[in-house]
Amino acid sequence: MPELTLRDLSVQGHRGPRLAPLDIPAEGVERLLPRERVRTEGPALPEISEPQVVRHFVNLSVLNHHIDRAIYPLGSCTMKYNPKLNDEVAQLQGLAAAHPLQPEELSQGAMAVIWELHGWLRAIMGMPAITTHPAAGAQCELTAILMARAYHGERGNPREEVIVPDSAHGTNPSTVNQVGYRVVTVPSGADGCVDIAALRRAVSEKTAALMLTNPNTLGIFERDVGEIARIAHGVGALLYLDGANLNAMVGLASPGAMEFDFAHINLHKTFSTPHGGGGPGGGVLCVREALEPFLPAPVLERAGDLYRWNHDRPRSVGRVHSYYGNFGILVRALCYLKSLGASGLAEVSREAILNANYLKARLRDAYEPSHPGYCMHEFVLSASRQKSRGVRALDLGKRLLDFGMHAPTTYFPLIVEEALMIEPTETETKASLDAFADALLAIDRETVEDPALVRNAPTRTPVRRLDEARAARNPAVTWRDLEAG
């Protein structure tokens, strides 16, 4: 039985929470606003009492898979446990009910939170300058490439191209295009790393920047990162670290030592703020000293015991967010860091890498790894063997849902056939990893014994496979569309 919509539940005359009655003499809308500016129709919002609204959303919520229920091994998404204290402190009234434009002298607590977070993140990254204005990773990329344009522009030529490896996330080429640069794709070599010879051929005086994900989306550490930096810097290009896979490096390796000019962090991945069904995230961009003047405005500064926002930043690329970024996410990330401390930070990547290698070892006989050897925090399997039995990566993922587990990322990176990209994170126990491996091994046996069972999966989920072609050919995107049939 599908869930009714709010529109279905609406009964004329029902009301939710009420306001206090107006405590001043009413003038009336008609006296305060010109008639032609007042809405004559609708909005047709639902009329539902509070208990029914609560039931509706609770009933919807239980249809979701989520990290508090079971493993969520999406590659490059870092679905780790989100500690509850983070959410609790973010609700504190002094933080949640503060207005962004209240006087700075009455905002010192909020500014101190941001200042302290900056300190932790600069230490972890080994980089000197930072902004937390971007709302998410893609906006960090955009901010950085705009900064690269400004940096090169000051030197007389903004340049024309940005180099992106073929294994990169889609946000990289998309961002480059949005900032008006041409995307130059470099291939990966047989070892899964950037093909250094091809990179040498691709760089030139036209190259504004090179965007690198390290470890890359195959879960392999780009061991030639030093050489890559020399090649980029040799032509005056800037080197960008896409931090999507930072969970493999926290407390273990230092992006600053790798000569990155820019490095971004997704707080909603590495630093455990909840994903919220798609967001909000939190974007952090760390940069080298020479790029500091270009950081988005305003910049947080400290003078003695007082914090202030410095808006007077003539070389800045400008403002990228309505206020100061996703502050509530910054609060959660700092809370997480304080829980971990130096000793906990050192465990994050070590245990994440151990978990990924353990899963890979348990699965390597049944599924073809994209590359042999040890992986970092994630790895990619190819379902090419299963495909020859008539079962695709998509089907394997769907069958996992029947086991109460989430599917890995499928069909990414694009350079691996029938890719299954698996990132368990450090917060899964051995028992949880064993259950996941057992499920995938059982499914592999099913591809031999009963492939139709896998192709028809899932059958134990709230709905079965959905007709995505129908959704796209005749988009029904509102209640009104549903009613129009």
């Binding site: 995505e468 072609a469 796209a472 050919r473």
Partner: protein
Amino acid sequence: MNVPKELRYTKEHEWVRVRGQEAEVGITDYAQGELGDVIFVELPAVGTRVSHMKPLGTIDAVKTVSDLFAPVSGEIVAVNTELKENPALVNQSPYERGWMVRIKMAALAETESLLSADGYEKVLGAIA
């Protein structure tokens, strides 16, 4: 795999039906099978000039996008407007009702570089 003998092909999985000066173009049965359900086909306006093996449009499936390349140079003289309402024709009838554009050819000699049905089948054989 259906590969009609009377058509010519490209390595990018377009087919070409040559009728005098005109080349009718679509994508092959193999291509539509790889793409899956086609949901949208973006084609140029009549009168647009296209060049040999340059993209002339895009084909959106549910989770992938593919370029449509011009097998020959020339001018677009007709587009299949039926695909706007019914893109599934590309899946259901790739060689007939799923045709995409007709190009008035600038250089007939270009058709000689196209593959025969046998040649295209060899391309498919190499993929499998």
